[in-house]
């Protein structure tokens, strides 16, 4: 029941908001905060009761939904989905605090926001492929509106591109789901994972490619990444946080939960290509980020680069690499979430994101400067902060398997350092640009939305076992499953 309660929280919140008059802005904000806050508390209680050493789904719920097709309302959580659920509720709560900066159409915004949270949580909790697909698609509609109505720049174009691009990938995934169902007559992910090694190799390869297309667009994998810069840049700040922090992880999660367990031979066959694509993501993303003049666009491309480590780790089929990939998903969510929040803080005050328009802000806004330095260092992978651990694990895991891809990827880290330090130099250092003499530092609300992330990034950097111990058993089990094919 806990998992259904987790799903119901934002849903009930959304219905409550829809019933309120649109002038009751305070009530709407408090309801949304309450709903996402309670969801966070429930997920923390899940964390407490979770037994990391057990492999297999915990807190399972299974109800018959459409008996004629064998579709069940099947929820469950294990070491792979728990970090994702925690990330979703955490960022959901923090971005909700950040959403107080929205100035118009509050009722629709928060209703859509909570619907988005339901969709994301459902994707990570579902253990039935049909249910998974429904939640996967449910995420698209509120995201379209959230970017298209409250965004900036070319918001209509970006929202539309995001919607169609992601839907096209999902439709290919739908065919894969159908093909799988027609072969096995079940949608249950756990049973399909058991049956996985028994499918014939050509079928597995075809299905993996179909699933790959669906997930690759979300991750995003080069060359399916072109929707990301537009969507991230033109979305409002809190939505950029959710987009980068959680939505991209849905793609990676899909590989861990669906593609790898159900078609392991297909996954193994694709390994070299996956490593290559990961390398391209890392290096290409880094170089293009370096060329950006818009702060938000730079962070968007850095997202592409960081997700490359997830792909690299996935391609390794070693416990180190895949643990690294899992951890990188969580870390990237917290770090890039923080970065986008900081970009938003600056944009709210300066109404520009051009890096060259700033300069010397380090003296004017010390709190902001400190946090920006912290998150930039985390992003470039400074040892001691969480980003380093996951990138290192991915590289170590893959080095033994795909040597030259790993070697080339390391150059990407150097470029990462370059562009992050460049950002710090252009925004914080040098002579103060007189335009910003009156800039105010971060207020209490903005600090509230970002300090928790600081704590987590630092804690996981020093003691990554906090997270690794949750996921290790499930990841080891997955590795054995894939290799044992």
């Amino acid at each position: 029941m806990v998992l259904s309660a987790l799903l119901l929280c934002p849903l009930v919140g959304m219905l409550a908001i829809l019933a309120m008059p649109k002038s009751a802005i305070r009530a709407i904000r408090m309801t949304a905060l309450g709903a996402s806050g309670i969801a966070l508390l429930i997920s923390l209680s899940l964390l407490k009761q979770f037994q990391p050493q057990l492999v297999g789904a915990q807190f399972e719920e299974r109800l018959s939904w459409i008996p004629q097709l064998g579709i069940f309302y099947h929820l469950g959580i294990d070491g792979i989905s728990l970090p994702m659920v925690l990330l979703t509720t955490l960022l959901g709560f923090l971005a909700c605090i950040a959403s107080f900066s929205i100035t118009e159409r509050h009722k629709e915004y928060f209703a859509l926001y909570l619907l988005l949270e339901v969709g994301m949580l459902g994707t990570f909790l579902a253990l039935d492929l049909f249910l998974f697909y429904i939640f996967w698609e449910v995420v698209l509609v509120p995201m379209y509106f959230l970017i298209g109505i409250w965004g900036g720049g070319r918001r209509e174009y970006s929202a539309f591109k995001f919607f169609i691009y992601t839907l096209a990938g999902s439709l290919v995934m739908l065919l894969a789901i159908l093909a799988l169902y027609l072969r096995t007559h079940t949608f249950d992910m756990l049973r399909l994972a058991e049956m996985g090694p028994t499918f014939d190799a050509p079928f597995q390869r075809l299905l993996f490619v179909a699933f790959f297309l669906g997930f690759a667009i979300k991750v995003p994998v080069f060359p399916f990444h072109t929707w990301l810069p537009d969507a991230h840049v033109d979305a409002p700040t809190p939505i950029s946080v959710i987009l980068a922090g959680v939505l991209l992880k849905m793609g990676g999660y899909g590989f861990f939960r669906i593609a790898y367990p159900i078609v392991p031979a297909g996954a193994a066959w694709f390994g070299w290509t996956m490593a290559l694509l990961g390398t391209i993501n890392i290096v290409y993303g880094a170089w293009v980020a370096m060329a950006q003049t818009d702060f938000k666009r730079l962070v968007a491309y850095s997202s592409v680069s960081h997700m490359g480590f997830v792909l690299l780790g996935l391609s390794s089929f070693t416990p180190e690499g895949m643990n690294g990939a899992m951890l990188q998903m969580f870390n990237h969510g917290t770090i890039t979430g923080g970065m986008f929040l900081l970009v938003g803080v600056l944009y709210d005050r300066a109404h520009t994101r051009q890096l060259d328009a700033f300069g010397g802000l380090g003296v004017r806004v010390p709190r902001y400067a400190g946090l920006l330095i912290f998150f930039s260092l985390a992003s470039l992978g400074l040892p001691g902060l969480s980003g380093f651990v996951s990138e290192f694990l991915s590289l170590v895991g893959t080095f033994g398997v795909w040597r030259w891809q790993t070697i080339v990827s390391v150059t990407g880290i150097v470029v990462s350092a370059a562009y992050m330090l460049m950002v710090l130099q252009r925004v914080l250092l040098g002579p103060l640009n007189e335009k910003w003499r009156a800039l105010t530092d971060m207020n209490a609300r903005e600090l509230c939305s970002i300090i928790p992330l600081v704590g987590i990034v630092l804690a996981l950097g020093i003691y990554p076992l906090f997270m690794l111990r949750l996921q290790d058993a499930s990841v080891q089990n997955l590795v054995q499953h894939v290799l044992g094919h």
Partner: protein, 479 residues
Amino acid sequence: MSEIVWDSLKAWWPELIVSVGALLVVLLGVWTKRTQPAIGATWFTLFGGGAALWFAPAPTSTSLFFGLIVADPLSLVFRWLALGTTALVVLMVMSSDEQTNTLRGEYLGLLLFITVGLMLMAEASHLLMAYVAMELVSLSAYILVGLLPDKRSAEAALKYLLFGAFSSGLMLYGMSLLFGLTGSLGFRDILQASGNLSRGATGLLAVAVTLMLAGLAFKISMVPFHMWTPDAYEGAPIPVTALLSVGPKAAGLALVLRITEALAPAWSTVGPLLGGLTVITMTLGNLVALSQTNVKRLFAYSTIGQVGYLLIGLSVHTPKGVEALLLYLVAYLFMNLGAFACIVAVVNDTHNETLEAFRGLSKRSPVLALLCTLFLLSLAGIPPLLGFFGKFLLFGSAIESGHLWLAVAGIINSAIALYYYVNLIRLMYLIAPDRVQPLRPTGALRLAIGLCGAATLLLGLFPGALLARLGASVVVNLL
């Protein structure tokens, strides 16, 4: 002889009630100057027909009226679809303020005649009955399309008539060839006889089937007999367009289903032809819709695209395909008529039939915009709505029977169609409106939109019961 007639009539109450009611409504329209009596009589008729259908004895596959019609579980589904379509369309007629006021009685009476025709089309098991039913629908429709007092409407009606006459002619020729080959016009006899044909005759059988498909293709707007659709839909009053987009498509598909069953030996020629036309229909409808600016024309091409998806269920030639077809028809009824009800509301207020009329609808009427979005997303196939579930079953049946290419064509077209459906949503939500007074649809429209919206969402979330009922209706022997 008279026992057969009496027994048949007992199973035929719904059609009888609706026919008599239609005549009554036309007369009321002539005798009284006000429209209320005609509307009242129409509702009385529809409820009467619905009650008769509800309390009808369990349908069997025995044929009625000397083998002219067969009231089996499959036809029961289509009779409900016909009544439901007309009921929702009458709600739209009550609200629409297009200049057809002077002709209310005839308007509603013709709608009821079309209902009878649709029910007969779905029940027909005799070629002549099929033809008569189709013509009943067509002739009433020609008049309804031309009901508005402007040139565009008259031109639309004329185009529809000429095209329809041509297709009917082709169909009659095919029927006559079939009669010559098999010596009978009843579907069961044709099935028996066509199994025993000599080699040379099978070629002629294929020709006959193809010609008959021409007439049926006209009714269901299948390529290449779709060309009347955009003009007729644009010129007709909006409720008529709504009826034409759902009613004849459903009944026409039922008829195609039975005829292809009756001519099963010719499937090796007809099957690939139907499959190819399915893909072309889908693609043409969706591609041309991309450039439309008139909302009625847009929905005409959208209908053509949707018919393509429906034809997948037919082309696969399996019971699962028929089940998927039935479910998608139910979904299509609710989502398409819901969308048209929203169009009636918008056009009533803005007197503008272009897409621009939808600008900023979310600010003027949030609930209307929300429900319209629901219908558009369902048409596009977004979960958890009923339209998605229907497409899921259709693509599943295609993959299961080995027609992977039909499923692939389906998903590519779904992605293309998303563009013009989301375009409307974009206009409603992302663009500022021209005027800001709230838009309040009439009570009848609210009922129609509310019913359709509830059905699309709730049946989409919990389709199990519906699926079970429809699955039970798909009998192995469709004749």
